[in-house]
């Protein structure tokens, strides 16, 4: 029966990856692509630090420097950290909630292809020295035609617009998946913490991205069609962009950090052999962080002079966020307290996050006070702050997540010795790079300058930062070697590689295409401990699943699945592979690319390209919607 066509023997070859709709394969593609862009963004940072290592160097030009710091920020935020989180969303959410796939498998493939094509679109120009050069925040009016002629900003505007589509499509998919694809008995308050934090992030995505979409539409219209949204001479307000951007930008920082918080909340209990301390409070504080995240955006703008009332309100709201965040830190520490701790690489990175994020969090509270912020804003102090939360926080959590979930994804452990080297070198290098920036910042060194004069007390701090970056590159190289080597040559891992408590460890590694041969009935927060380590979960609340749900899902009591079958043998219908999501994504990217020709005064050509992109988009979308899923 054709319905089971895709359950034919394990598919290989490039075409099977291009047409895949399997969340695990899509997650793997996200992981590889995002790691590539992480390395790319890291090399951009390497060039920046090379230029700043000594005063008055001219290794790269001022113009190239602008492109490098813009692309470093844009790459790390949109092409590295967000998609690395997306890799985990894709791979883990269905496994953690006991589902066979996401709610919309083809939409999932679409999200990935839009991301990949958008990432290529925004990255490619740097090889021709026309990369975006207006900062990752792209402040208008600076980015309007008047001050930024040339195609640089056009690539940025359209690239971000394309990447936004990817994030939004994925967010609708995961919201639906988490609400509606949970196994019987997997109530919201039994979901693993990673799934919970991801759930919050999806809401931040669907509510934050529209604001930047509109801000970008205005900028695109200003640049291409002569509107005056950011034209001060016509009465426009120079703060409009800043407000709309930060309405998006502040939730965005929680979009970057919450998935890492979730990963760490999986790692710490596993290697402490204790349930997560204060699960409920962890959930509520995550929701609280997400909710308050929409009411603090203007703390990025204290320096523009909004007035005492606005400054006070945004300052207080910002300080308020420190409470749920602090609650999380204390809960992690309490999880470790009295546990049987195993210091594997994943655990080291997780504890690294707890420590380093706290430093970044505290410097964050420092500039939530407007008078202090006025001294710190636009200096390297702020650069130090957000690298502590983004590298010390997000990346440490993601590295921990990679070490932790590698055995699930590839059936093999990563090398522990190399992992330990990676951790300690990263830990030392990251502090060597970013801690001195607090001092250079407080001594007045502004951000985004391509060089500086000697004699201002900045030399030794900059040299330290640059040496730290060199060390970080070495540490990351060790990670890359470990990652590539362990995929084929690592120690074979059992399916429950670490003795964890959640559903994803109850199935083979790597999981079969259908994930769960029989959907498990969940009766507590630690289903796997229930059957393997009852002594560890006996204190937790247990309750039977709704019998109607159990019957409807054809579910069986929680068990470890060790048998290997194909989907056809088990009679599980699998979604068919399809190339239509890729074609739809391609249509969108061609449609946007066409606009580029307007600035080259080829209006007819621009319309022709855009319209053919739109035709491809509509045609493949209809073909997609009218072809059956399974």
């Amino acid at each position: 029966m054709a319905t089971y066509a895709s359950s034919a023997p394990e598919q290989t070859g490039i075409w099977s990856w291009i047409t895949t709709v399997d969340h695990k394969r899509i997650g793997t593609m996200y992981l590889f692509t995002a790691l590539f862009f992480f390395l790319f963004g890291g090399l951009e940072a390497g060039l920046i630090r090379l230029q700043l290592a000594q005063p008055n160097q001219a290794i790269i030009s001022a113009e190239m420097y602008n492109q490098l710091f813009t692309m470093h920020g844009t790459t790390m935020v949109f092409l590295a950290v967000m998609p690395l989180s997306a890799a985990f969303f894709n791979y883990l959410i269905p496994l953690q909630i006991g589902a066979r796939d996401v709610a919309f498998p083809r939409l999932n493939a679409f999200s990935y292809w839009v991301y990949l094509l958008g990432a290529v679109f925004i990255t490619f120009p740097i090889f021709f020295h026309v990369a975006p050069n207006g900062g990752w925040f792209g402040y208008a009016p600076l980015t309007t035609n008047q001050f930024s002629p040339g195609a640089n900003i056009d690539f940025w505007v359209m690239g971000l617009q394309i990447l936004g589509i990817s994030s939004l499509a994925a967010a609708f998919n995961f919201i639906t998946t988490i609400i509606n694809m949970r196994a019987p008995g997997m109530t919201l308050m039994r979901m693993p913490m990673f799934t919970w934090m991801s759930f919050v992030v999806q809401f931040l995505l669907i509510l934050a991205f529209p604001a930047i979409t509109i801000a970008l539409v205005f900028l695109l219209f200003d640049r291409f069609f002569g509107t005056s949204f950011y034209d001060i001479a016509k009465g426009a307000d120079p703060l409009l962009w800043q407000h709309l951007f930060w309405v998006f930008g502040h939730p965005e920082v929680y979009i970057l950090i919450l998935p890492a918080f979730g990963l760490v909340s999986e790692i710490l209990p596993t290697f402490s052999k204790k349930a997560l301390f204060g699960y409920n409070v962890m959930v509520y504080s995550g929701i609280m962080i997400g909710f308050l995240g929409f009411g603090v955006w203007a703390h990025h703008m204290f320096a523009v002079g909004m007035g005492a009332v606005a400054d006070t309100l945004f300052s207080m709201a910002t300080m308020l966020i420190a409470i749920p965040t602090g609650v999380k830190i204390f809960n992690w520490i309490a999880t470790l307290w009295g546990g049987q701790i195993r210091f594997v690489a994943a655990m080291k990175f997780a504890i690294g996050l707890v420590g380093l994020f706290t430093i970044g969090g505290i410097s964050g509270v420092m500039h939530s006070s407007p008078p202090a912020d006025l001294q710190q804003t636009d200096t390297y102090f702020v650069v130090a702050h957000f690298h502590y939360v983004l590298f010390g926080g997000s990346m440490m959590g993601i590295f921990g997540g990679i070490y932790f979930y590698f055995p699930k994804m590839f059936g093999r452990y990563m090398d522990e010795a190399l992992g330990t080297w990676h951790f300690w070198l990263t830990f030392i290098a990251m502090n060597l790079t970013f801690f001195p920036m607090h001092f250079s910042g407080l001594l007045g060194m502004p951000r985004r300058i391509y060089t500086y004069d000697a004699g201002q007390g900045w030399e030794k701090f900059n040299l330290a930062s640059s040496l730290g970056t060199l060390l970080l590159i070495i540490a990351t190289a060790i990670f890359v070697i470990n990652f590539l080597k362990s995929r084929k040559g690592g120690l074979p891992a059992p399916q429950d590689a670490w003795g964890a408590a959640t559903l994803e460890w109850s199935i083979p590694s790597p999981p079969p295409e259908y994930n769960f041969a029989r959907i498990p009935i969940v009766t507590s927060r630690s289903p796997l401990w229930d059957i393997k380590h009852p002594e560890m979960s006996s204190g937790a609340a247990h309750a039977d699943a709704d019998p109607v749900q159990v019957a409807s899902a054809n579910a069986v009591p929680m068990r470890e699945e060790t048998e290997h079958h194909t989907a056809a043998e088990l009679g599980i219908p699998m979604p068919l592979n399809t190339v239509k999501p890729l074609l739809t994504a391609l249509g969108i990217v061609i449609m946007f690319s066409g606009l580029m020709f307007i600035h080259l005064d080829h209006f007819a050509l621009a319309m022709a390209v855009s319209l053919s992109g739109a035709a491809l988009l509509i045609g493949s979308l209809y073909a997609w919607l009218f072809s059956p899923l399974e």
Partner: protein, 222 residues
């Protein structure tokens, strides 16, 4: 995938997918999408209101303007015409619920004749949407004629972008309705298809409520 297999998938393999809440995935996704659209239009409406009264040159929405060369421009918004188009869009929502009721209650007593004619109601809804777009096209061209282009001033930029975005949403809605109409003509929509009509209806009504907000905030409040 051959058509024959596609048909087989529909006819003899209607395996029911389990969902946690018993609700359909697509409906949850559409409501999440509508939530996201609230922020999209909030950003557009905020910008329009922020820029209200900041244009350096006319024409203006509610006030007359005399240019430095002595040319007089009337207040540009045409309330009678827009009231008419608003009425058409509001009525389209009524037609939409009729269409959904016709599909949901197909074959039930009391749903014969016009009341049960989903093709008629889908077509009327799409027609009302098209008439609304016609009004918008008329409005835009007459504004351009009277000297207001998207490049003229802040009002022109923010007005055309906001209402244009709404118009684009209506256009997508009309295409969606016509697609449903085509399916209905080809094979007939049955109560099993209610959900497909329902999610289109949710989108359509949302576009309508956005217009309710726009009509008051942009057209009536001076």
């Amino acid at each position: 995938m051959s058509t024959a297999t596609a048909a087989a998938t529909h006819d003899d393999h209607e395996h029911v997918h389990y969902t946690t809440t018993g609700l359909d995935n697509r409906k949850i996704a559409v409501w999440a999408f509508i939530g996201s659209e609230c922020m999209l239009f909030a950003s557009l409406i905020s910008t329009y209101l922020i820029y209200k009264g900041r244009s350096k040159v006319g024409p203006f929405p509610h006030e007359a303007w005399t240019s430095p060369t002595g040319e007089v421009f009337k207040p540009i918004l045409n309330i009678p015409v827009t009231s008419a188009s608003t009425f058409v869009l509001l009525m389209s929502s009524l037609f939409m619920v009729m269409a959904l009721a016709a599909v949901e209650n197909r074959g039930k007593p009391g749903y014969g004749g016009l009341k049960g004619n989903s093709k008629f109601w889908l077509a009327t809804t799409a027609l009302a949407g098209t008439v609304f777009l016609g009004f918008q096209a008329f409005e835009f061209t007459s504004f351009v004629h009277e000297g207001l282009k998207i490049t003229t001033n802040l009002f022109g930029s923010s007005f055309f972008t906001l209402t244009g975005f709404h118009g684009a949403h209506v256009t997508v809605g009309v295409l969606w309705l016509l697609t449903l109409l085509a399916i209905d003509m080809k094979r007939g929509l049955t109560p099993k298809d209610s959900l497909v009509v329902d999610i289109c209806a949710l989108y359509w009504h949302f576009v309508d409520v956005v217009w309710i907000a726009i009509f008051t905030l942009i057209y009536l409040i001076q």
